[in-house]
């Protein structure tokens, strides 16, 4: 599942995605119409739209990794993060907009996994855009039916004495996993620790790297 995608290889070995030579959907036409009207009426400029897309693309898992590393090195921050992850993220200076974030903590006995079965809710304001597989029907259905089988495909074979807690983002909250701090990282500073925190470890489909 981690490698599910729609890319193909051309005869010369280049990966490509098939051209989307299909008519625009209703909502694509609606988006173009509304956007052009707003530009025509002077509410926004094309430059502002491009800047906003840039701002969205600039968000990436490094933001979440910094939050996790801070929680590993600052006990008081960890408590605040688990209490109100939105406030804790803002405290670190991340502009997460109106996002309501909940952090769930992995321990020796508990492993958390995030999914959105209804669509593709994801803490974009902190982690950037979700990976393609996160949005697939396969992940969205299997993560709640057979999370352990899914995790094994991601290379994570959990023992029976670790409880799996799946979190389905069905409504207004978004989720981030606070992974357990890896062994062998005593004395490491937050900046170095953040490099061990992978995107998947904050979704729950992976663990942080070890140094």
């Amino acid at each position: 599942m981690p490698h599910d995608h729609h890319d193909h290889l051309s005869p010369s070995g280049h990966p490509f995605r098939e051209d989307n030579d299909v008519p625009l959907s209703y909502w694509q036409r609606m988006e173009i119409a509304v956007r052009e009207l707003m530009i025509e009426k002077g509410h926004v400029t094309p430059e502002e739209i491009a800047l906003q897309i840039d701002a969205m693309d600039a968000r990436n898992p490094a933001n979440g990794a910094a939050v996790v590393a801070r929680a590993w090195t600052d006990q008081n921050f960890r408590v605040r993060l688990l209490e109100d992850a939105s406030a804790a993220s803002r405290e670190m200076g991340f502009d997460i907009g109106p996002m309501r974030l909940i952090a769930v903590e992995n321990t020796a006995r508990v492993h958390n996994l995030i999914v959105c079965t209804l669509c593709s809710c994801y803490p974009r304001n902190l982690l950037g855009l979700p990976p393609d597989w996160y949005k697939t029907r396969a992940y969205r259905s299997r993560a709640v039916i057979e999370p352990r089988a899914v995790l094994r495909e991601f290379g994570l074979d959990l023992p029976d004495d670790v409880q799996v807690r799946v979190h389905d983002s069905t409504a207004d909250m978004r989720y981030i996993v606070l992974p357990a701090r890896p062994e062998g990282t005593d004395g490491m500073e937050a900046n170095a620790l953040a490099k061990l925190v992978t995107r998947d470890s904050m979704i729950g489909t992976g663990l942080p790297r070890t140094p």
């Binding site: 352990r148 799946v166 409504a171 207004d172």
Partner: protein, 91 residues
Amino acid sequence: MRDPMTERVRVKTLMPPGHVRTPAYLRGKTGVVERVLGPFGNPEKLAYMLEADQQPLYRVRFTMREVWGDGAENPDDTLDAEIYAHWLERV
């Protein structure tokens, strides 16, 4: 719903048309309130740009045994989901 984690609730088995944010696989299932959130605007109204009532939102924890029955992959694993108050009834 004063005491999270002791309050048992069942998801109503409604099947209304239109936009709802209560997954079908949880309807009729019983769980405990993990925490209380909200209130939030009712998405069933917001989706149609109607004036939305405010609904408390609950994080409800279900066991995989409850959700999937004997076929559960690991019966003691859990599933948490956010369910609006008007979809829940006390057990």
